[in-house]
């Protein structure tokens, strides 16, 4: 029974690991062949086997955290413990599960029997029953169409508010792209359709595929990477500039197409430097990348038709342009010829001399005018010359020189007389000084009748009586000679001297 359950579970689980499978097979072989070699082979207890299995399962990292999708076929919450026991099943298989009270309390909504859910949990083997169980961490209800629609609207509103879908951001597609980038699955219908259209149109366009996942959990990131890659400078360097980018895939369910509604993908499309065409699913499928791209194509085939230029159409257009080019040039040449013809019929070409008559008269008239003008100009100039030469004569240096010479003479005379005057005056001053000096001379005084007394030994002039004493020798000097005398008596009396005056 236990074995049966284990096998059932094994078959039902998609994420079985090889090493566990191997050990399991070994184990079943061991059991099946155990009868014949009962004695030689080791024998395990049930507990041993269950423990072995437990250990194997618990060692497996992937089994410690897995999402399992299925329908709840049994849901039971034990009153006393508060833990929930349930069974998860799909068309072919089932697995039991348990959700402990603590985790159960965190659930927003209790799962109901018959509901499609996804269970996040770890796989374990129960010790007592030896049964595989999923130890649930979280249980979420499988989402329905209404849910998708809601998510779509939420993202759309958010990005629209940011202006990601603004019509003024839309660029027009290049009219003749040389290189078309395609972001899609390399195995899908989209790339095949695009290549088919490109070949039909023979326009020598180059298609560069950037392979990407287009559905599943990893698709959004894969798409974003591909968009960024297509926009990268390295790619421009390696394969050349991508002129337009088709992003899309063939038809599918809303879930299949969901990656094209993911915010990161929509943003990447909106931010692409290369103009974008969104081509997701069929005509009826609308995704948010359709809003973000520069152009929405109903299908990948339609996208290719929009983008890939049609060689024949362009050749026809070129032909038309050439015809117009020739015609316009021919017209112009015709026009010029016609003008030439009309011009050549004019009088000036037919009778050029008559045209000259007027000119000749004009020239003559002008000649006369010029002559008289020249005459008056010459006389005026002559008059002016005369005036200037008389002014020049006034400015002759001869006159100036005579003037200067006269002034020099005057200055020289003035200088001479002033020096003579000065000399005479000095001479007179000198004579006066000399006569004064003479008058002051003692000898002049002597001539006027005075005498001078001198000490004969020292020659000193004795001017006072007290300088002498009785018996002393003295010299009395007159103008005409001297007396050597001896002093008889000194009378010190001023009055006597004055009394002796007449």
């Amino acid at each position: 029974m236990e074995k049966y359950v284990v096998r059932e579970v094994q078959e039902g689980m998609e994420f079985w690991l090889e090493d566990f499978e191997e050990s399991w097979l070994e184990f079943t072989r061991l059991i099946e062949s155990s009868e014949g070699i009962w004695q030689e082979e080791p024998i395990f207890t049930v507990t041993d086997i269950n423990n072995y299995l437990r250990q194997k399962v618990h060692e497996d990292e992937m089994l410690q955290r897995v999402w399992v999708r299925g329908e709840i076929s049994r849901w039971q919450v034990y009153q006393q413990s508060g833990h929930a026991y349930f069974t998860l099943r799909d068309e072919q298989s089932q697995i039991n599960g348990v959700m402990w009270r603590e985790r159960l309390n965190k659930l927003q909504e209790m799962p109901k029997e018959g509901e499609k859910v996804r269970v996040l949990g770890s796989i374990r083997v129960s010790r007592r029953g030896g049964e595989f169980q999923i130890d649930a961490i979280a249980i979420v209800r499988e989402i329905d169409k209404g849910y998708w629609w809601q998510r779509f609207e939420e993202t759309r509103r958010k990005l629209e508010a940011e202006g990601l879908f603004a019509s003024e951001k839309k660029r027009s597609l290049p009219f003749f792209p040389r290189r078309i980038g395609v972001i899609t699955s390399p195995d899908g219908a989209a790339i095949r359709d695009i290549i088919r259209i490109a070949r039909e149109r023979h326009s020598g366009v180059e298609i560069v595929l950037f392979p990407s996942l287009v559905q599943g959990e990893e698709a959004p990131l894969s798409l974003v990477r591909a968009i960024n890659l297509a926009n990268s400078q390295e790619v421009e360097r390696l394969v050349g500039k991508i002129d337009v980018l088709i992003i899309g895939r063939g038809g599918g369910s809303i879930e299949d197409l969901w990656a094209f509604n993911e915010e990161i993908v929509v943003r990447a499309v909106a931010n692409s430097k290369i103009p974008t065409v969104s081509a997701v699913g069929h005509e009826v499928d609308i995704t948010l990348t359709d809003f973000a791209a520069d152009v929405r194509a109903p299908t990948p085939t339609a996208a290719a038709q929009m983008v890939v230029p049609d060689k024949q159409e362009l050749l026809d257009r070129l032909k038309q342009l050439e015809i117009r080019l020739r015609q316009a040039t021919r017209n112009k040449i015709g026009q010029v010829k016609e003008r030439w013809r009309r011009l050549s019929e004019r009088r000036c070409f037919i009778d050029p001399v008559s045209l000259l008559a007027d000119f000749r008269q004009d020239v003559d008239r002008a000649g006369i005018k010029l002559d008289s003008l020249a005459q008056s100009l010459i006389s005026e100039k002559r008059r002016r010359l005369l005036e200037l030469s008389s002014r020049l004569a006034h400015c002759s240096p001869q006159a100036k020189l005579a003037q200067w010479r006269e002034r020099l003479q005057r200055y020289a005379e003035a200088l001479h007389s002033s020096v003579e005057f000065s000399l005479n005056r000095r001479h007179r001053d000198l004579e006066l000084l000399l006569s004064k000096l003479e008058a002051l001379s003692p000898f002049a005084v002597l001539q006027r009748g005075y005498a001078l007394v001198r000490d004969p030994n020292t020659g000193r002039v004795l001017t006072r009586a007290e300088c002498l004493s009785s018996g002393q020798q003295a010299e009395v000097i007159f103008a005409d000679g001297k007396l050597n005398v001896t002093v008889n008596e000194v009378v010190k009396d001023d009055e006597v001297a004055f009394g002796a005056k007449p």
């Binding site: 009219f175 342009l321 040039t329």
Partner: protein
């Protein structure tokens, strides 16, 4: 998809098909106005014919192979030929 300088002195070194086509249309429009002098007309006519040849040549270029560009985990970009499975 390059037009040498001497073929198109007005538009710089290189020219795309679109530019050539646009210029050709412009030339036709200018000529059809009939207001240009004769020497300018002749010059534009010659330029127009060169542009037409250039565009035709571009259109007749050989079919290109399809490339596939992938980014490896180590960040290197690989360019391979792509063979669609049909």
């Amino acid at each position: 998809m390059r037009l040498p300088l001497e073929q198109n002195p007005e538009q710089g070194e290189t020219l795309t098909f679109e530019q050539a086509m646009a210029r050709l249309e412009e030339i036709v429009r200018l000529l059809e106005s009939g207001e240009l002098p004769l020497d300018e007309t002749i010059r534009l006519y010659e330029e127009g014919q060169r542009l037409r040849q250039f565009c035709e040549q571009k259109l007749n270029e050989a079919e290109k192979r399809i490339k596939m560009v992938t980014l490896a985990d180590n960040g290197t970009i690989k360019v391979n030929e792509f063979e669609p499975g049909f």
